[in-house]
Subunit: 233 residues, 2 copies
């Protein structure tokens, strides 16, 4: 008997990391289309683009979740990233090779560890994250081998692993380019006007059009041949 | 030329997870004895035994650190553990087989991910954690294979890994029993009266004598043949 197809069974819970950006909104739509009950998790890590968290709430509401939680972690105190340290400028002169100053040390490991903790409490076997290894910004923790290593860790770290339940860390858009992500999300009904990708969006969520995140996003809409609903400052 | 032995070189930085308990105090003493500059990290995760954090500050002061930071993360909102959820009682009827209700979901993964982030910013290649697989409470994330998996993850997750610098996650007391830990720490000059292990210590840090942590600790002093400086309520 399949555990997932019976119409009388409650949908399986899945924890979804939801930043408020384009990628994680698409992942949330994939999770809902897959029939999961979505438990969306956003992390307030002191990011300068606070509008992202407002966007996460809008996206959760629009796509539909069973619950949306925000966990606050003050890693901004460590510094070391343009996204958490106001003294380091967000680069606006184009995407360069290598790891950029917008890289937040160990951010995905931190976010996945929080997702893992909530998944354990919920009894969820699936964690979704919108990392992307194609049109990405050179962050080491966006690669498929990183996700596989976290999944291995998760199964050793937890009650689920000890009890023989397999935990899955799923990165469904990791091998899609930005245009493909936008095409997929559009087919799934995602309203990208609710999302904020810009690293230095203003208080109203308006994008700068010049940071790496803005450039990758805008190019994606162009290449997908779809109208860009982003509100620029 | 050795990078670690030159007297003119600054000591290498290491991040040390410091809970305020007996095990992590011993690890901090090992780190200092090893010639590292210690960057102690404590996590306020909503634990009911707040006296632990006061103890961490005392221990950091007594043993000597370059810096001591406390990061607050509100994972208590997830519930699921007697250590963060006041509605779940801390067991006081002896250590049982299996994973106890004091297990905090994904706690060590969360703490190591925060240590990893700070290590990246500091340029530290070494992270120390006082997990113990012998006299422990049945937590899955205290086993050597878990630590090895986190080290593998760390090297994929970070700038250090990408740049070919190896990160090490070190658990120097993982294979020692509680008596051996106490003997080692005593030789290194640890004043265990500053530490708090009890899961439900009172506001003055006095121990209950009945929870798993108290039982393991007290038995350790007895087996080590050393006086137990713990203040019991």
């Amino acid at each position: 008997m399949s555990r997932s197809s019976g119409p009388l069974l409650a949908p399986k819970p899945a924890v979804v990391l939801l930043s408020g950006g384009l990628d994680s909104a698409t992942v949330l739509a994939i999770v809902r289309a897959g029939g999961f009950a979505a438990y969306a998790l956003s992390i307030d890590y002191g990011q300068r683009h606070r509008a992202e968290l407002d966007a996460a709430a809008r996206v959760a509401q629009a796509i539909g979740v069973s619950e949306h939680r925000v966990v606050t972690v003050d890693v901004g105190q460590f510094g070391g990233s343009a996204l958490t340290d106001a003294s380091i400028a967000v680069p606006i002169d184009g995407v360069k090779p290598g790891i950029p100053v917008t890289y937040v040390p160990a951010r995905n490991t931190l976010m996945l560890s929080l997702a893992l903790g909530w998944a354990e409490v919920l009894g969820a076997n699936d964690i979704f994250i919108g990392v992307n290894a194609i049109d990405y910004s050179g962050y080491p923790d966006c690669r498929p081998e990183y996700i596989a290593a976290f999944e291995a860790l998760a199964n050793l770290a937890t009650r689920a692993g000890v009890e023989g339940r397999a935990l899955h860390v799923r990165a469904p858009i990791v091998q899609l380019d930005k245009a493909q992500i936008i095409e997929l999300g559009t087919r799934l009904g995602v309203d990208y006007s609710a999302t904020v990708s810009c690293y230095q969006a203003d208080g109203q969520g308006r994008a700068c059009a010049r940071c790496d995140a803005c450039r990758l996003r805008r190019d994606g809409f162009v290449r997908a041949g779809l109208p860009d609903p982003t509100v620029y400052a």
